[in-house]
Structures are given as C-alpha cells and as structure tokens.
Amino acid sequence: MTVPVFLFYFFAALAVLSALGVVANVRNTVAAAMSLVITMVSLAVIYLLLEAHLVAAIQIMVYAGAIVVLFLFVVMLLNLRSDDFPPARQRLSKLAGALLGVFALAEFLRRSGSLPAAPPLPEGFGGYRTLGIALYTDYILLVEMASLLLTAAIVGALILAKRKID
C-alpha cells in the first residue's frame, strides 16, 4: 500500500466517523458543527489526492472557513439550552435509514472493482491556472449565473433578517 492510498483510506475513515458524529450527536450542536469541519477538511485532503487542487483549496475556504462558521455563528446567536434540543425521531425512520445504509453498502460491495484504473493526467491538471482558464473561457456563462445566484441569495438573506417585513 503506497502512501497516497493509505492517506485516502485514513481520511475516508475520518470523514465517515465525523459525518456520523454530525448526525448522531443529539446533545451538542456546536460539537456537531466541529465534526462537520473535520469532514470537510478530510474531503479536501481526498480532493488533493485526486489531483483537484483548486477544488481542495476552495473546499477548505468556503466550507470549513465560511459555511461552518456561519453555522456556529447561528448556533451561538440562538443560545440554545440543551433542553431545547428535540429528541430524534422514533424507531421507524431509524430502521429505514439503517436499511438504506445496508443497501448502499451491499451495492457498493457488489460493484466494487468494476471501475477501470485512473488514467495518467496531463501536466497541471486541476491546478489554479488550467482550471481558471477553463472557468473564464468555456464556462463563463456558469460563472455569470453563479454571480446572479449569489446576489439573489444576499438579497433573500437580508429580507429574511429584517425584523419586520413591510
């Protein structure tokens, strides 16, 4: 087992464990948000191992840096006491979730090994320069649409945050 493969399995296990920590942590929302940070960072490491360098950097900046901080900000702003936390739903939906998990795992094991090995990559694949050039030439319409979406989200968040909607 080479070093990248070992790193992949290590961070995959870390991502799964911390994702379970997000979902299974019933008492403490701050701890759930911190588990979410660990998931995001280990996924960023896996992106690096998959030669997606720009995506890994943006994953850390946007997800671990902005989105989870926003979650933490709201959790601390609302100042929830632990008795404010509603209990999780009862047996039936947990059973459905377990069945779904078993199905996903079985399907994964059945299909395991059916994908071909990854081909060798051209020079600079997934780097800032090549991906940036692709973004601002072939995908320029997508970038414009993303800016429009973010503007709409800013306006929506501002309207929602107003105390009285008049």
Binding site: A19, T29, R89, L100, A153, A157
Partner: protein, 106 residues
C-alpha cells in the same frame, strides 16, 4: 493509485449518512448540516469522475470540477438563506424544532 470505486463508495456512504440525518433529526440546524453532508458526497463523486475521465472530445475536460465549484456556490447561497429562515423561525416560534413549523404540511 487511489481506487476510484472506493471513492464512489465513500461518496455513497456519506450521502446515506446525510439522508439519515435529514430524516431522523428534528433540529433544523442539524438538518441543514446533513444537507451539506449530502452535497459534499455528490462533490466527491464528481471529483472522482473527473479523475477517471480527465479528457473530453476537445482535450482536457474539467466538467466535474467546474460542477463542484457550482455546487459549492449553491451550497453557500442555500446556507445563507436557510440560516436566515432558521433565525426568523426562532424569532417567531422560539424553537428550532422542525415539528413546530407544520403550516405547509398536509
């Protein structure tokens, strides 16, 4: 070389954990976090797919990674609006329990 079917398998496991979180939890903030988990699982599948098929008809193709960037944009917008909704819900109902807001439920 990283086995790509295991990347897809990790993506499936993370997505399942996210679905279970959305279905079983009642705290709105944790439900939003589980949605983030699901979006991340999809991102992982996209990056793995781009690693497996790095070339398109016109040379090197970045379709998967560009899609991931768009998903991250949508996730940022969704969290901004979603947490705004959570704050106004807490202001009006004094609760973050999803069962307390059932006005639109049949």
């Amino acid at each position: 070389m990283i086995p790509l079917d295991h990347v897809i398998g990790l993506s499936a496991i993370l997505f399942t954990i996210g679905v279970v979180g959305v279905v079983t939890r009642r705290n709105v903030i944790v439900i939003l976090m589980s949605i983030e988990l699901m979006l991340n699982a999809v991102n992982l599948a996209f990056v793995g797919g781009n690693r497996l098929w790095p070339t398109g008809p016109a040379g090197v193709s970045y379709d998967g990674q560009v899609f991931v960037l768009m998903v991250i944009t949508v996730a940022a917008a969704e969290v901004a609006v979603g947490l705004g909704i959570v704050i106004s819900m807490f202001r009006n109902r004094d609760s973050v329990n999803i069962d307390d807001v059932s006005l639109l439920k049949w």
